[in-house]
Symmetry: C2
Subunit: 212 residues, 2 copies
């Protein structure tokens, strides 16, 4: 609040970008983010579910949640979304690294107050968790919507960083006999596990099956 | 610095723990963490590689890195390691959630200063990236070690949270016709991609192949 966040990229500048479309792609492909707040000079970094609502990042939590309350108090936050995309195995420890895509978003989150807007928020988060899910489950109750706090953070001040290059070894290391390259990493869905209390005869729907 | 971090768990207390062994397991299974620092009242959350060195978390970066310098200045930080383990699809949006394991570590990081200790740090980080890698690559040079800053954060003040239960729907929702359950998620390695400048005849070693 007192100052603008310093979003200048000093290190590895060639990996940086302010591209909004790219930021959205990275956010849309992620299920969780890491939310950073500072309370009494102590930073806290918390994993949270999220979704994108146009030009805002949408967070939610219990109205009893201390973090949600802190975020709602007008403090600066930093929300980072990261995909670990691979291991970069160079011919030296020094040049080894990782492939990743990340967005750091800076700003002040504001609470969503209208009932319809909160309902819309829960829908967005649910559809982000699993596209098509809203059609299969019952509508949310007034009590559930009231018990949930939604916060919107503008996708305005952000930094994107993408690392996707092959190992970059100096010429003198190229005679190494070590294998060098990239091992791609990807978050993959496994076989769905039915709830123990699932009624017999209910089969895994297509949108769940398609996650594999 | 001014105060102790507040690590009391208020929400979802049953998911919390202070178990050191569990914290180590979660850290050892992760390749990256999210480091939170506060500079001029603005929190920053940065993804970083890491490894565990016994009872410390080990971070590294360029000696020119602003974040490393900030961390080294004696400020409080929070480092969070998170695994997203699954989607919990309940019969309502409200009860849907995720499986995860996370550790939040609070403290002040201190720089590793001795050359041998720094060399040891780079070895730990490299072996954490890929076990057995040190045997295949050339030793690090003095210049490389000197250009790298290593920071150790004690695994002393931390909070572990694990969510691994099936969907928890109220009795009245159990007559829903919606499929309910968990879709497990896991970070998986794909087919290794050789560096474009890899000499002919160098095959993918066993430790790389075993990642799949």
């Amino acid at each position: 609040m007192s100052t603008q966040p310093d979003t200048r990229l000093r290190r590895l500048r060639e990996k940086g970008s302010k591209d909004f479309t790219l930021a959205c792609e990275i956010i849309d492909a992620a299920k969780i983010c890491h939310v950073g707040i500072t309370v009494d000079e102590q930073p806290y970094v918390l994993p949270m579910a999220m979704a994108r609502d146009g030009k805002h990042l949408l967070l939610h939590g219990s109205i009893a949640s201390r973090v949600m309350k802190s975020l709602d108090s007008g403090i600066n936050c930093c929300v980072t979304v990261t995909h670990l995309d691979g291991l970069v195995l160079a011919r030296s420890a020094f040049n080894s690294s990782m492939h990743y895509r990340s967005v750091m978003i800076f700003g002040v989150a504001t609470a969503v107050t209208g009932f319809a807007d909160k309902e819309h928020g829960l829908k967005l988060l649910t559809e982000h968790l699993l596209p098509g899910r809203m059609a299969d489950i019952r509508p949310s109750t007034r009590k559930e919507i009231n018990a949930t706090m939604f916060l919107r953070l503008p996708l305005k001040t952000f930094t994107v960083k993408v690392s996707k290059a092959p190992p970059d070894d100096p010429q003198k290391d190229l005679e190494s006999t070590a294998w060098a390259g990239v091992v791609p990493l990807r978050l993959k869905a496994g076989k769905p596990i039915a709830a123990p209390d699932l009624a017999k005869g209910i089969t895994v729907p297509a949108n769940v099956r398609h996650l594999r």
